[in-house]
């Protein structure tokens, strides 16, 4: 085992990780650990843009942006955080421009802006041009620009290193830690893919920026590597996960493949049509039609297909129509996504409508943080030195449904804040002792997995997980489907204990790492389903057919999911006894299946749910109509 | 389902089971305009050579009696004129530098080992020097009317 010591260790080299690294590497000794080369991160797949009320092309201000974010998130947004994000958005965009990001320009040479779903003028009057963009590869440009700046600033990267454990001063899962106790982070344990060697990184501050967990679903726009590592590691160490039941399904994934076609297609004038050629969004959102927030559009699409108005031979998708746009306009503004349609479906978007269907896209939930990105371990206490930013975190600026472009904003605004906070903390904090033999859990897990001679294939278990999540916990959910999903996930967790890998080597053993990633996915899927089962209402990205209305009295609260021994109550338990009973009936009935896998925190655990109040500063919940 | 066929040499494997990368960038900075001038020279000399060579071919092979006119007398006649001396000298030098530089880049591109590269370049430069020196010498020291030669082979202006 090799030991390294840094003031700040950043886990993940996507947008949030590198933005944090740019701030902290100036101020403190910083290392960035990433399981991919930085330019491979999935930030690069973001297409449409990054909203900021620059008002370069029409009147706009950050307060409207805040309102749109809050309303888009169906009032589960922490409004102080949304305000911070909308305000700092302007500087975040200008910062990127000064770093060299090649934004598209207006005739005056300013940063050009375009319309995007859910972003409106004067609290919902009409769509507004707010999204700053670089063709339809804004994320690619952000990732490249941030990496370029990291090269300039000589940021130290550990590429193709997998972080497999977060070291805390206390055992939050099983140990007796009461509210108010001082809990601090002392570093991370990482696995070097190239050699199979274990590395211990001691650090004063650790920033989690590991991204999402889209691979719990089969149809997803997410990369193969988005397996919720950071979320699962925090969760296994007893840190709660917030609002995990809210998963965003992006309306326009290429049908059957899930590859993303940006909302910018609709921002530039694209229209969704059903099998009868009808512009069906006029019925669901009369004011802003195709530019309604993603949850509404995705649900409307799924509804059209369900009611038999889908297109294609099986009537199982709808059509994104760009044929009325000028080819030159498409080439200038949407070159990449038209190429996706050509490459993967053989469709020529100039002349044919493109088959699309919702695809799992973004986890609104994650590791709970405050607006300074410090990680919470219950509703009030922090884990000292631990920070999180980006999709892995839940600030919560996205509430129950994220608006398009707000993720690129999130990573820049809160990535920067995380870097600053981590460096500032490291400047004054003392070193925290690492536990004795900190690597034993990870090594044991790796060796056990490697040594198991026969067993289920990792791919089979993963396939079954993705299948059940797609079938039972997607756009439409019911108690019945969710109970089925939970049952399946628990069974798969049991099967996971017996999976074996075929590659027994040390160097570049991606087989072994895929197995560990599956363990993370199973943990996350369990939390998603338990949270969804508990939330007996429909809000944003979470739609329960058996409870189709929003229920502010009982559920305008964040779900906090803790990993605890069976029978332990969460720090603040559910208020609604009905829902609690439903969860109890399914999760704790009869034979107790052990909770998620992972021998870095072995034992039998359960998901304990609590609530955290939503921060409301300005906007009282209203009916959400577009 | 799977078959294993003939082994092939491992690309750039250094021998030994270690997986330490065997190619490292040991590039020393060699900035400056040398390669730029070299690159430009190739283009310019190429164009000039086209004119020189086609002029040469026309005069030698087409004009007048064409190819039947070529004999010692014809060549001697040309090289007695400073115009054709300069023409041929230019053609010799440009062609040799152009060709040598071209072969040099090919050696750089395709010789993998430093040793091979050096030997090949040494041979190339030797050939270059020999040809250019000999050629230049011939053009300037050429005697159009060598003594004791049959008059019918000599150019008309020789008064033996």
């Amino acid at each position: 085992m090799q030991t390294h010591q840094y003031d700040v260790v950043i886990v993940g080299a996507g947008g949030a990780g590198m933005r944090a690294a740019l701030e902290s590497s100036d101020r403190a000794r910083t290392a960035v650990i990433s399981k991919l080369y930085p330019t491979r991160s999935h930030t690069g797949a973001a297409q449409g843009g990054m909203c900021a009320a620059l008002a370069n092309v029409e009147e706009d201000n950050w307060e409207w942006h805040t309102f749109d974010t809050v309303k888009g998130g169906d009032y589960l947004v922490d409004q102080d955080a949304a305000e911070v994000m909308a305000k700092e958005a302007i500087d975040a965009v200008l910062d990127l421009e000064k770093m060299g990001l090649p934004f598209n320009r207006t005739p005056e040479g300013r940063i050009d802006q375009r319309r995007f779903g859910g972003h409106t003028r004067n609290h919902g009057e009409a769509a507004v041009r707010r999204s700053c963009y670089a063709a339809d590869r804004t994320g690619h440009m952000i990732l490249q620009t941030l990496y370029q700046q990291c090269v300039k600033n000589d940021v130290e990267f550990f590429n193709e290193f997998y972080v497999l454990d977060i070291l805390l001063s206390h055992d939050l899962v099983g140990g007796a830690v009461s509210d108010g106790d001082d809990v601090a982070v002392s570093g991370v344990v990482a696995y070097e893919l190239a050699t199979g060697e274990i590395h211990l990184f001691r650090a004063k501050s650790v920033v989690l920026a590991t991204g999402g967990a889209g691979k719990i679903y089969k149809t997803t726009s997410n990369a193969h590597t988005l397996t919720g590592d950071g979320m699962a590691l925090a969760y296994r160490r007893g840190i709660p996960l917030e609002d995990m039941e809210f998963f965003q399904f992006h309306p326009t994934g290429l049908a059957g493949l899930g590859i993303l076609l940006s909302e910018a297609a609709r921002g530039e004038g694209g229209i969704l049509r059903n099998g009868e050629g009808e512009r069906f969004m006029e019925r669901y959102a009369p004011t802003i039609k195709d530019l309604a927030p993603r949850d509404i559009v995705a649900r409307s699409m799924a509804n059209e297909v369900r009611e038999g108005r889908g297109a294609g031979p099986n009537k199982d998708y709808v059509l994104l129509d760009l044929t009325h746009l000028e080819p030159a306009h498409i080439d200038a503004k949407l070159p990449d996504i038209t190429e996706f349609a050509r490459t993967y479906l053989g469709i020529e978007p100039y002349t044919e409508p493109v088959p699309v269907y919702p695809t799992a896209h973004y986890a609104m939930g994650g590791v709970p943080t405050n607006i300074e990105t410090a990680v919470l371990r219950n509703n009030t206490d922090f884990v000292r030195g631990l920070f999180a930013a980006g999709e892995v975190a839940c600030v919560s600026v996205h509430g129950s449904n994220r608006l398009g472009t707000n993720s690129l904003l999130d990573i820049n605004v809160f990535g920067k804040r995380a870097g600053l906070a981590a460096a500032a903390y490291a400047a004054t904090a003392d070193w925290v002792d690492v536990p004795e033999d900190p690597e034993t859990g990870v090594v044991a897990e790796l060796e056990e997995m490697r040594a198991r001679a026969v067993g289920d294939r990792v791919a089979d278990v993963r396939r079954d997980l993705q299948q059940t999540m797609d079938a039972n916990a997607q756009v439409f959910r019911t108690e019945e489907s969710l109970i089925q999903a939970l049952k399946d996930v628990r069974e798969l967790q049991a099967r996971y204990r017996n999976v074996s890998v075929q590659d027994k080597g040390r160097a570049y053993n991606t087989d072994l790492l895929e197995a560990l990633e599956l363990g993370f996915l199973l943990d996350i899927a369990e939390v998603v389903v338990v949270g969804a089962l508990n939330r007996q209402e429909s809000r944003g990205g979470h739609f329960r057919e058996d409870f189709p209305a929003r229920d502010d009295a009982a559920y305008m609260q964040h779900t906090m999911a803790y990993r605890r021994p069976p029978g332990t109550a969460a720090p603040s338990s559910p208020v609604s006894s009905d829902a609690a009973a439903a969860v109890a009936a399914t999760t704790r009935s009869g034979d107790l299946t052990p909770g998620g896998p992972g021998s870095s925190a072995p034992g039998t655990y359960d998901v304990a749910l609590g609530y955290k109040p939503v921060v409301v500063t300005r906007y009282q919940p209203m009916e959400r109509k577009y | 389902m799977t078959t294993t066929s003939t082994p092939i040499p491992a690309p750039r494997s250094s021998g030994g089971p270690t997986i330490v990368p065997t190619v490292s960038r040991n590039r020393r900075t060699t900035r400056g305009n040398t390669e730029l001038y070299g690159w430009l020279f190739m283009r310019v000399s190429g164009v000039v050579l086209v004119a020189l060579i086609f002029g040469h071919l026309f005069v030698n092979l087409v004009q007048g009696e064409g190819i039947n006119a070529i004999d010692f007398g014809f060549v001697a006649g040309k090289w007695s004129s400073p115009f054709w001396q300069t023409w041929d000298l230019l053609m010799l030098w440009l062609a040799m530098i152009h060709g040598t530089n071209g072969v040099r880049t090919i050696i750089n591109d395709y010789a993998e080992r430093d040793g091979t590269r050096m030997v090949l370049k040494l041979a190339l430069y030797t050939a270059f020097v020999v040809v250019v020196v000999l050629g230049t010498l011939v053009i300037f020291t050429f005697d159009p009317c060598p003594a004791n030669s049959p008059a019918d082979l000599l150019p008309s202006f020789c008064t033996a």
Binding site: L36, Y37, T39, R105, V151, A223 | G32
Partner: protein
Amino acid sequence: MTTQLDDSPGTSSTPDTKVGAIPSFDVTLKIRRYTPETHGDEAYWQEFTVTVHGTDRLLDALHKVKWDLDGSLTFRRSCAHGVCGSDAMRINGRNRLACKTLLKDLNPSKPITVEPIKGLPVIKDLVVDMEPFFASYREIMPFLITTGNEPTKERLQSAAERERFDDTTKCILCAACTSSCPVFWTDGQYFGPAAIVNAHRFIFDSRDEGGTQRLEILNDKEGVWRCRTTFNCTEACPRGIEVTKAIKEVKRAMITRAF
């Protein structure tokens, strides 16, 4: 789903003829493997046959091999739709991204050869050491260089100035171009097309003031002048960047600067 697919009944091997069903067919992959830990220090060819669907890409076939047949097959991949640049490999002798190569375009009657990209040290199977590649990238100072005070708001740039370097901003650093270049294969000292493309992106950015320095760097013995305009790089680029043209423009800028 597309007419092309429906028109290929010859390749269909399933009796399933439901309306809209996508035909399946068998492909054989001939993969160049290098697994020093288990098979010694020599690379070898191994063939796998898998059943794939009409819309499947080579990456899907590789996944089928890894997930169902041989877990030890190792390759890099992430986004699976051609934007992350992880899975550049040599497919039937040409550099391609596995996730952008549709199997139906590859003639399934013959085995598809899959090799690691050339010119970079192979570590395991299709995984190569990318460090020399990124070292070249870092050398050309791939970041905006400016002097003086920063403006309060954004730097102004006209749409035409922005368009000037648009093509080279598409680069995803997959190394398909550099590892398709015969000059790079020889000794790996040449900067390579990808580094030049990224230099181009800044040299022709109206906001940048480091063009001269970059031109000086690329005026190196191993710089742009080693380009032989074979167009392999342009042909290999999965993003459709006109790489050779970009290199030509950098050469022209150097000549203009020198005279």
